[in-house]
C-alpha cells in the first residue's frame, strides 16, 4: 500500500508510510476492540449457559447482542475515581500500558497469508516479548493504587507471568524449530495442506507440547484457574480493585485482547494457522500454486479459518474458567516449575530428535510436496531437512535463551 | 451421675465450692462460690470422672428491677448471676453452674463485678467472656484480651443490664 501511495498518488515517502501505518493500526484496533466486545458478550452468554441461566437477553433485541456496548456506555458515564493516596501519574498510565502491550502484539500477528500489520522475521519473538510487557501495566496499577489488595495482586501477577514465560517460550520454540523460521507467516504457510500437516499432528511430542502451551497461555493471560492477580474471593479484585469506569474497562479489553492473541498464536503455531483442515482452495484450483497471487477470496477464507480457530481457543478458556476452582499461588508456581517446564523441555528435546531421525514425519509426501509448490524463497529452507533442523535447533536454543532473558528481566 | 455423690466429690476436691444446688429444676444446677469458680471448673474438666470438656455458653442475668413499684414485690436481692453450661463429649451429659456476683463491685456504681476467667480451662471461653463483659458488664480477671466484642470499642454502658439506657447520641447519630 505504501508503494501504491508513493508511486501512483505521488505522496512523499514519509507520508506514505505514515498513512499506511495509520490505516493498519486503525484496522487492527477496531478488529480487536470489536472482538473484545464480542468476546465479553460471549463470555457472559457462555457463563450463563454453563450455569443454567439465560444471561443477557434484551439489550439489542434477541440474545442481548448489544450488552457489551451498553456496558461500555455505562462505563464511559461512570465517575472516574482515584484513591487519595494513589500515585496520580502511574495510576493513570497503568491501564494504557496494559492495553498497548496487548494490542501492539497484534502488529506481527498474521490473519492470513500476508494479511499482517507488519511482517517481521522475528514475529514469534516480537509477539511473546510485547505480550510480556502487559505485566508492567498490572504492576504499575497495583503499586500506584495505594491499596494493599492491589499490591498483592500485582506481586502475584509479576511472579506468575515471569515464571510462565519460560515454559511458554520453550513451547513456542518448537514450531520455530520445525519451520526453521521465526516468521509467523512462514510458520503458518508451512502447515498448508491437509489436516495432517498441522504441527499439532507432526509427531507425538508436538501434540503434547500444544497442551503445555495452552496451559501456559491461560496462565500468562491470567485466566482461571490461574487468575490469581484478580482472585475475587481473596484479593477483592486484585490489581484493579481501585479502578472504575473506562480505565477499568481498558484492563478488561487488554485481557480479552491477550486471550485472543494467545489463541491466535496457538492457531498459527500448532493448528495450521489460516490453512483449513482440508485445502479447499487448492483442490478447487483457486490458487494456481502461488500464494502471492492467490485471489482475495482465498485470503478471506484464511482469515475466517484463523478467526474460527482463535475463537475456539478463547471459548475453551471460558469453559475452563467457569468449571474449575482457582489454584493457590504456590500451587501455580509448582505447576509451572515442576510440571510445565520439565515437560516442555523434554518435548523440545523429543521434537529435536524426531527431526533428526524422522524428518518427514510419519505421513510422507504431504508436507514437502505442499511446500514445494510455494514460493521459491521458502524452498531454500526445506531443501535439506537435516541441515535446516540443525540450524533451527541452534536458532531455537538461542531464542529460548533470549526469551529466558526477557523473563528474568 | 449428677446426683449427690457427684457433688460430694466436687466438695471434697474443692472445699467450699458448692454454695447451693437444685436437683429438681428442669436443668439441675449447682451454685458455685465465685472465688472457687476457677478451681471447681478445673476439677470438672481435668479430674472429674465425667470430663466436662466443653463449655457451651456463659450467660449473665441481671437480677434488677428498675421499676420501684415492681421492685417492692420481688423476692430476690439485686445481683448479677452468671450461668455456665458445661457439656461432656465423653459421657454426653450437661451440667449447669451458677454463680452470684454483686451488680457492682463493693456496691460502687461503675465498678464492674469481678470473677476469675476460665479461659485457662476452656479456650472457647474467650469470646463468650468477652461477650458477657461487653453486654452485661462483668470483669473477668485473668482474661488474656478483655475487649468489647459486639459493640464498638468506645461504646458506653452495658446493654443487657436492666437499667441500661441508650446513649442520646453516638458519634453524631441520634440514639433515642
Amino acid at each position: 500500500m505504501a508503494e501504491f501511495l508513493m508511486n501512483t498518488v505521488g505522496l512523499p515517502t514519509w507520508l506514505a508510510w505514515s498513512v499506511t501505518a495509520g490505516v493498519a493500526a486503525f484496522l487492527i484496533l477496531n478488529v480487536i476492540a470489536g472482538g473484545a466486545l464480542v468476546f465479553i458478550w460471549a463470555e457472559r452468554k457462555i457463563a450463563a449457559r454453563i450455569q443454567d441461566r439465560l444471561g443477557p437477553t434484551r439489550t439489542g433485541g434477541r440474545f442481548g447482542w448489544l450488552q457489551s456496548l451498553a456496558d461500555g456506555i455505562k462505563l464511559l458515564a461512570k465517575e472516574d475515581l482515584m484513591p487519595d493516596g494513589a500515585d496520580t501519574l502511574l495510576f493513570r498510565l497503568a491501564p494504557y500500558v496494559s492495553f498497548c502491550a496487548s494490542f501492539c502484539a497484534f502488529i506481527a500477528m498474521p490473519f492470513a497469508f500476508d494479511v499482517v500489520g507488519q511482517r517481521l522475521n522475528v514475529g514469534v519473538f516480537f509477539v511473546i516479548a510485547v505480550l510480556g510487557l502487559e505485566v508492567f501495566g498490572v504492576i504499575l496499577a497495583g503499586y500506584a493504587s495505594a491499596s494493599k489488595w492491589s499490591l498483592f495482586g500485582a506481586m502475584r501477577e509479576a511472579a506468575q507471568v515471569v515464571s510462565y514465560e519460560v515454559p511458554l517460550g520453550m513451547c513456542v520454540v518448537v514450531p520455530v524449530m520445525l519451520a526453521g523460521s521465526m516468521d509467523l507467516v512462514t510458520i503458518g504457510e508451512k502447515q498448508a495442506g491437509w489436516l495432517t500437516n498441522w504441527y499439532l499432528f507432526h509427531d507425538p511430542f508436538t501434540f503434547v507440547i500444544f497442551w503445555v502451551y495452552f496451559t501456559c497461555a491461560v496462565a500468562s493471560v491470567n485466566r482461571a484457574p490461574f487468575d490469581l492477580a484478580e482472585a475475587e474471593s481473596e484479593l477483592v479484585a486484585g490489581f484493579h480493585t481501585e479502578y472504575s469506569g473506562l480505565r477499568w474497562s481498558f484492563f478488561f479489553m487488554a485481557e480479552y485482547g491477550s486471550m485472543f492473541l494467545v489463541s491466535g498464536l496457538a492457531a498459527v503455531l500448532f493448528l495450521g494457522g489460516w490453512n483449513g483442515p482440508i485445502p479447499i482452495a487448492e483442490l478447487a484450483g483457486w490458487s494456481d500454486g502461488s500464494a502471492v497471487t492467490a485471489p482475495y477470496a482465498v485470503r478471506l477464507l484464511g482469515c475466517a479459518n484463523l478467526l474460527a480457530k482463535a475463537t475456539v481457543g478463547v471459548l475453551l478458556m471460558m469453559w475452563i474458567r467457569w468449571t474449575l476452582p482457582r489454584l493457590r499461588i504456590d500451587q501455580v508456581m509448582t505447576t509451572c516449575l515442576k510440571y510445565c517446564t520439565p515437560i516442555a523441555a523434554a518435548m523440545f528435546a523429543g521434537v529435536m530428535l524426531w527431526q533428526l531421525f524422522l524428518p518427514g514425519g510419519l505421513l510422507p509426501g504431504g508436507r514437502r510436496t505442499a511446500i514445494a509448490v510455494r514460493e521459491g524463497w521458502l524452498e531454500q529452507a526445506v531443501e535439506k531437512p537435516e541441515d535446516s533442523s540443525a540450524v533451527s535447533t541452534d536458532a531455537g536454543s538461542s531464542v529460548s535463551q533470549q526469551l529466558a532473558g526477557v523473563a528474568e528481566r | 451421675m449428677r446426683g449427690p455423690a457427684f457433688i460430694d466429690q466436687l466438695e471434697a476436691a474443692v472445699p467450699g465450692a458448692v454454695a447451693g444446688r437444685s436437683l429438681e429444676a428442669i436443668d439441675p444446677w449447682l451454685e458455685i462460690a465465685p472465688e472457687k469458680l476457677l478451681p471447681a471448673c478445673r476439677w470438672l474438666k481435668d479430674s472429674c470422672e465425667i470430663r466436662f470438656d466443653g463449655l457451651q455458653c456463659i450467660t449473665a442475668i441481671d437480677w434488677f428491677q428498675p421499676d420501684a413499684k415492681k421492685a417492692a414485690k420481688v423476692s430476690w436481692e439485686p445481683h448479677t448471676e452468671l450461668v455456665y453450661h458445661l457439656w461432656s463429649t465423653v459421657a454426653r451429659v450437661s451440667l449447669v453452674l451458677k454463680t452470684k456476683l454483686p451488680r457492682w463491685q463493693g456496691d460502687k456504681p461503675g465498678q464492674l463485678p469481678e470473677i476469675a476467667s476460665v479461659v485457662s480451662v476452656w479456650r472457647g471461653a474467650d469470646w463468650h467472656e468477652r461477650e458477657v463483659y461487653d453486654l452485661s458488664g462483668v470483669m473477668f480477671v485473668g482474661h488474656p484480651d478483655l475487649r468489647r466484642i459486639l459493640c464498638p470499642e468506645d461504646w458506653e454502658g452495658y446493654p443487657l443490664r436492666k437499667d441500661y439506657e441508650m446513649p442520646l447520641e453516638y458519634h453524631g447519630m441520634r440514639g433515642r
Binding site: 498483592f152 468449571t323 | 450437661s94
Partner: protein, 402 residues
C-alpha cells in the same frame, strides 16, 4: 505445604528483611460471608496472625427478647441463621416448650422433623455453593441455588415466606401443609438425588478443589472440643457427636424411631462411604475437605430423614394441634436447650419469672464458637487459604452477631 512455608520463612529471615503488613479483610470483602472483618498480619503472602472482628450485624436480639413474649420472639430467631431459619425456630420453640413442660402432638413432631431436615439441606446447599465461590469457582454456587430455590418454593407453599418463615412456633406449627405438598416434596427429592453426584464431580473429587482443601486448616478433635466447636466442624474432626442422637430427651424424642447414621468418620470410614467418592490421599481428618464432605453426607442423610418423616407424617391420623397463645405465661425457672442446626449446636436459654415475657433470653450461637477457632487454623497459612478455612467453617454473621 507447611514445609514450603517454613523454608520460605527461613529465606526471608536470612536474605531479605521484610516488614509485616496489616491487612483488613472485610467488612466489605467478597468472601467473608457477610460483614465479618478479619485483620491479617501478613509477611508477603503468609499470614502470621488473624483476628476476627465481629459485631457489625449486632441487632440486640437478646435485649429485644426481654421485651417480647416467647412466641413474639420467633421472628427474631429467623434472622439469626437466616439460611436455616426453620431450624432456628425449632430450637427456640423447643427451649420454650422445655421450660413449660409442653409436648406437641405426634403429627406436629413429624412435620417438624420434615421441615427441619429440608432446612438443613437448603443450608448445606448454600454452604457448599459458597465454599466453591470462596475457592474461585462460580458455577457450583448457582447449581446449589437452583436446587435451594425448589426447597424455598416448598417452604413458601407451606408458610408463605421464603426466607424468614416463623413457621415452627411454640406449641406446634402455624399451619398444616397444603394438599399435594408431600407429593411435590417427594418429586423434589427424586429429582435432587442424582444431582448430588454432579456436586461431587465438580467439587469433592475435583483435583484443584482437593489441592486447595486437603490438609489445610487441620482442626484436632481436642482443640475442636476445647473451643466449643460443634456441628459439621466438630464431626469433620472425627468427634462423634450429633445432638439429634446425643441431645436432651425433648429433642431426641423428635427423632425417635428414625433411622440415621451420624456423618462422622469411624475407623477410617464414613457411613455408607462406598456410595461416595473415596477420601483423597492428601486429606487429613479435621481439614477443610473433611468438613466439606461431612456436609455433603448430611445432605443425603437429611434426604433419608425427610423421606421417613413424609412416611410417618402421612400415616398420622390425629390433629396437628394449635400453637400456644401469643401471650402464654411462662413458669418461673430457666431452661437451656441445644439443637443440632446445620451450622452446629444452637443453644437457647431462657429465664421465666411467671409473666409472659421472659426475664432473660440468650442465644448460644454455633457459628460464634466455630469462628473463634479460625485464628488457630489460619496461623502460618497463605492468604489464599484464609477464605478456604473460614469458608469451611460455614459461618453466618446473622447468628454470630445476633
Amino acid at each position: 505445604m507447611s514445609q514450603v512455608i517454613e523454608e520460605d520463612q527461613r529465606i526471608i529471615e536470612f536474605d531479605v528483611r521484610t516488614d509485616e503488613m496489616l491487612v483488613n479483610m472485610g467488612p466489605q470483602h467478597p468472601s467473608t460471608h457477610g460483614v465479618l472483618r478479619l485483620v491479617l498480619r501478613t509477611d508477603g503472602e503468609i499470614v502470621s496472625e488473624l483476628e476476627p472482628h465481629i459485631g457489625y450485624l449486632h441487632r440486640c436480639a437478646e435485649k429485644i427478647g426481654e421485651n417480647l413474649t416467647a412466641r413474639q420472639w420467633i421472628p427474631y430467631t429467623d434472622r439469626m441463621d437466616y439460611l436455616a431459619a426453620m431450624n432456628m425456630n425449632l430450637g427456640w420453640s423447643l427451649a420454650v416448650e422445655k421450660l413449660m413442660q409442653y409436648e406437641v402432638s405426634e403429627k406436629a413432631r413429624h412435620l417438624r422433623v420434615l421441615i427441619a431436615e429440608l432446612g438443613r439441606i437448603a443450608s448445606h446447599l448454600v454452604g457448599m455453593g459458597a465454599y466453591g465461590l470462596d475457592l474461585g469457582t462460580f458455577s457450583p454456587f448457582l447449581y446449589a441455588f437452583r436446587e435451594r430455590e425448589k426447597i424455598l418454593d416448598l417452604f413458601e407453599e407451606a408458610c408463605g415466606a421464603r426466607l424468614t418463615y416463623s413457621y415452627i412456633t411454640v406449641g406446634g406449627l402455624t399451619a398444616d401443609l397444603p394438599p399435594g405438598w408431600l407429593q411435590r416434596c417427594e418429586a423434589f427429592l427424586e429429582q435432587f438425588e442424582p444431582i448430588i453426584r454432579e456436586y461431587h464431580t465438580l467439587l469433592t473429587t475435583n483435583a484443584i478443589f482437593v489441592k486447595r482443601t486437603a490438609g489445610i486448616g487441620v482442626l484436632s478433635p481436642e482443640m475442636a472440643v476445647d473451643y466449643g466447636c460443634t456441628g459439621p466442624v466438630l464431626r469433620g474432626s472425627g468427634v462423634d457427636i450429633d445432638m439429634r442422637r446425643d441431645g436432651e430427651s425433648i429433642y431426641t424424642a423428635m427423632y425417635d424411631g428414625y433411622a440415621f447414621e451420624v456423618a462422622v468418620m469411624k475407623d477410617g470410614h464414613y457411613p455408607r462411604d462406598h456410595e461416595y467418592p473415596a477420601v483423597p490421599v492428601d486429606a487429613v481428618l479435621g481439614d477443610c475437605w473433611h468438613r466439606f464432605f461431612v456436609r455433603m453426607l448430611e445432605v443425603v442423610q437429611s434426604m433419608d430423614l425427610v423421606r421417613q418423616a413424609i412416611d410417618r407424617y402421612s400415616r398420622c391420623k390425629g390433629p396437628l394441634g394449635e400453637p400456644l397463645k401469643l401471650a402464654e405465661k411462662l413458669p418461673a425457672g430457666d431452661a437451656y436447650l441445644e439443637t443440632e442446626c446445620p451450622k452446629g449446636q444452637m443453644g437457647f436459654y431462657l429465664v421465666g419469672d411467671g409473666s409472659a415475657i421472659p426475664w432473660r433470653v440468650r442465644a448460644r450461637s454455633s457459628s460464634f464458637s466455630n469462628l473463634a477457632v479460625a485464628p488457630e487454623l489460619c496461623r502460618g497459612c497463605l492468604i489464599a487459604d484464609v477464605p478456604a478455612v473460614v469458608g469451611s467453617l460455614d459461618i453466618v454473621m446473622g447468628e454470630i452477631d445476633r
